[in-house]
């Protein structure tokens, strides 16, 4: 008997008991729907994190002092302070490098008149707005001359400007005090929102790094070097070049461990999404349990169905159905239940994700591979949980089955 004929028989049998069929499907619908919705929300969250990291700047490579593995002892980032402006200078000469910004941080109180605010003072270089694709809202960024002479000038983050001067006021030309020194405000950055680490990027003050090193924190080492590659394709190559240059700068012998860390945007994305990924997997796993429960529901109903339809099976066998025909019929019934349930579940999952996006402003995205997996898994559940009842049906003795009351 052809598979088409078996399909026809299975569909007819399912249509004879619509209520039971749809209730059995409900288990699959809820299971698949839950998995799809969870994966959609998780993927959406991951995408948001990716966007946040990417807002740090395109083609960004970050060089930090210290290594994750120094002489066998795993230390944290920035644990040894051996990065100096000369390192940045060497990196700047590399062919694939477009922009370089030295970074030093310190925290301080900033004061304007009666208002004061505690914030991060970010000492950096003129390339920063280009590296981070971050234009100024008011005024201008400081220039190379300011950096060279370590001028006491600053550009405020929009949040700092709002807190010191009030919202919507252009403070360009005013002076503020940082550690009892007078700084001229050159401008205000446009608003950028939360950064990759979750901190508010608008809550900081930018000054030339030379100013921070010489006049505020009095340090001679850098906290970070930001490097921007000429193209996204050359990221890995650029990162390798930067690493090579840093090793030469630091006189590290071949085979010696790096005393710095070069991190590309991709590394950062991977790092940040790892946690979200774990969460997604956990949620999808829990939802997956309901899929298994749905499968057991199918097996349960199929077993009841086989018992209830014993006489039907006996008749089919008597009029010439082979055991394999009966096996296929019941297997296909189970697979049809699970597949149709799975497809409906995918639609339900889409609906939940869409509703969460529209009404809860939650980021949600249904990945194609999750849909494909759901379909394959549904079919698998049908075959796995349908096989035992189907085999039981196929193994019936026609004489016994016909006598069954």
């Amino acid at each position: 008997m052809s598979i088409l004929m078996t399909l026809r028989i299975a569909f007819k049998a399912l249509a004879r008991n619509k209520m039971r069929t749809s209730l059995t499907m409900l288990g699959m619908i809820i299971g698949v729907g839950a998995v799809i919705a969870m994966v959609a929300l998780g993927t959406g969250a991951q995408q948001v994190i990716e966007e946040q990291v990417k807002s740090a700047g395109t083609n960004l490579i970050t060089v930090m002092p210290g290594s994750t593995n120094a002489a066998g002892v795993r230390t944290g980032f920035g644990s040894s302070n051996r990065m100096v402006p000369a390192d940045a200078l060497a990196v700047r000469d590399l062919p694939l490098v477009e922009y370089v910004a030295e970074v030093v941080n310190t925290r301080s109180q900033v004061i304007y008149g009666a208002a004061n605010w505690n914030t991060n003072i970010e000492g950096t270089n003129v390339d920063l707005p280009m590296i981070r694709s971050w234009p100024v809202k008011y005024g201008t960024f400081f220039n190379e001359e300011d950096v060279r002479i370590a001028a006491k000038v600053c550009v405020l983050g929009s949040n700092v400007a709002d807190n010191l001067f009030g919202e919507g006021i252009d403070p360009t030309g005013s002076t503020i005090r940082i550690r009892n020194q007078i700084f001229k405000v050159l401008g205000v950055m446009s608003s950028k929102g939360a950064g990759s680490g979750g901190m508010n990027q608008d809550d900081q003050v930018f000054t030339p790094y030379t100013t921070v090193m010489k006049k505020l924190s009095r340090q001679d080492n850098l906290n970070r070097i930001l490097v921007s590659a000429r193209s996204a394709d050359a990221m890995d190559q650029t990162a390798a070049l930067v690493t090579e240059t840093m090793r030469i700068q630091h006189d590290i012998p071949p085979g010696g461990d790096d005393d710095f860390t070069v991190q590309t945007l991709e590394d950062m994305v991977a790092l940040r999404t790892a946690a979200a990924n774990t969460m997604t997997q956990l949620l999808a796993g829990i939802a997956g349990v309901s899929l298994i429960v749905g499968g057991i529901g199918i097996m349960n109903i199929m077993l009841v169905s086989v018992t209830e339809r014993t006489r039907e099976i006996g008749l089919r066998l008597a009029i010439g159905a082979r055991g394999s025909d009966v096996l296929m019929q019941f297997l296909i019934e189970a697979v049809v239940i699970s597949l149709v349930g799975g497809a409906t579940g995918i639609a339900l999952g889409y609906g939940i994700a869409e509703a969460a996006r529209v009404y809860q402003q939650m980021p949600a995205l249904v990945p194609v591979d999750a849909v494909v997996t759901a379909v394959l898994f549904s079919a698998g559940v049908g075959i796995f949980f349908g096989f035992y009842p189907a085999r039981k049906a196929a193994g019936l003795d026609p004489i016994e089955a016909l006598r069954f009351e």
Binding site: R316, I319, I399
Partner: protein, 265 residues
């Protein structure tokens, strides 16, 4: 050439430590066109005989030649094929699929006959032809629960006919029917037997039903104890004509019933 030829047929069932010898050496021939009634008390082996001749079971020993082919040693799947092609079953309990139209019920054996080339329209045509043969062509779209017991049994007979089998095996076909309907159903068997020369093997424990056949075989304790022609054969058609018309309350007029069924659905 006999359509059924069995030689020294035995069947032994093992029930725990016991052995039940259901058949203890049965030999007989049935010629094409015969209407054989098989009777005997319960436990006589007539059911076992029917299961083996119906290819639902295999004998422990002995030979069974059906239509010139030895089927006593066939595999399960081959037996299924023989059942589909050579044998039409009619059961006491009708065994129609519920919530399935008369037409679909009749078509069922065609789905298993291995000829995938049979188109839906061709299947419908053949199913309708056999439904017409049992006088139920107009009821093709009725569900079993919209049909009387006699009509259901006629659908079952149509289903048995659809693959043009060599024999029809009827196992207590009137067991669930009242007297009048029983006569009607036996009338159909007699008509098919005479008009289409179909061999009928009727299993019954009712002596009067057995008298509709041409030949009577009696089983007892797993053996054939009597095998003789029926002396005073009953003719269902004559009896039906002699009966008073059906009481309207019990068997509604076909047209009225038709309307009733339409309203119910």
């Amino acid at each position: 050439m006999p359509v059924i030829s069995v030689r020294d047929l035995t069947k032994v069932y093992k029930m725990g430590d016991y052995e039940v010898r259901a058949l203890r050496g049965v030999s007989l021939d049935i010629e094409p066109g015969e209407f054989v009634a098989v009777t005997g008390p319960s436990g006589s082996g007539k059911s076992t005989f029917m299961h083996i001749t119906g290819c639902l079971d295999r004998p422990t020993s002995g030979d069974y030649i059906l239509d010139g082919r030895d089927v006593s040693r066939l595999s399960k799947d081959d037996l299924a094929r023989v059942r589909n092609q050579k044998i039409g079953f009619v059961f006491q309990g009708f065994n129609l699929l519920s919530r399935t139209t008369a037409l679909d019920n009749v078509e069922l054996p065609l789905l298993y006959n291995g000829k995938n080339g049979l188109r839906t329209s061709e299947r419908h045509k053949r199913a309708l032809a056999v439904l017409d043969a049992v006088g139920l062509g107009e009821r093709q779209h009725h569900m079993p629960n919209q049909l009387s017991g006699g009509q259901q049994q006629r659908v079952a007979i149509a289903r048995a006919l659809i693959n043009e089998p060599s024999i029809i095996l009827a196992d207590e076909p009137t067991g669930n029917l009242d007297t009048r309907t029983s006569i009607e159903v036996m009338g159909i068997f007699q008509r098919l037997n005479i008009e289409r020369k179909i061999t009928v093997l009727l299993i019954t424990h009712e002596a009067d039903i057995a008298e509709y056949g041409t030949r009577l075989i009696r089983f007892r304790d797993g053996r054939v104890v009597a095998d003789q022609p029926v002396k005073h054969r009953r003719d269902a058609e004559d009896e039906l004509a002699a009966l008073p018309p059906p009481e309207p309350d019990l068997i509604p007029h076909p047209d009225e019933e038709h309307k009733g069924a339409d309203q119910a659905s």
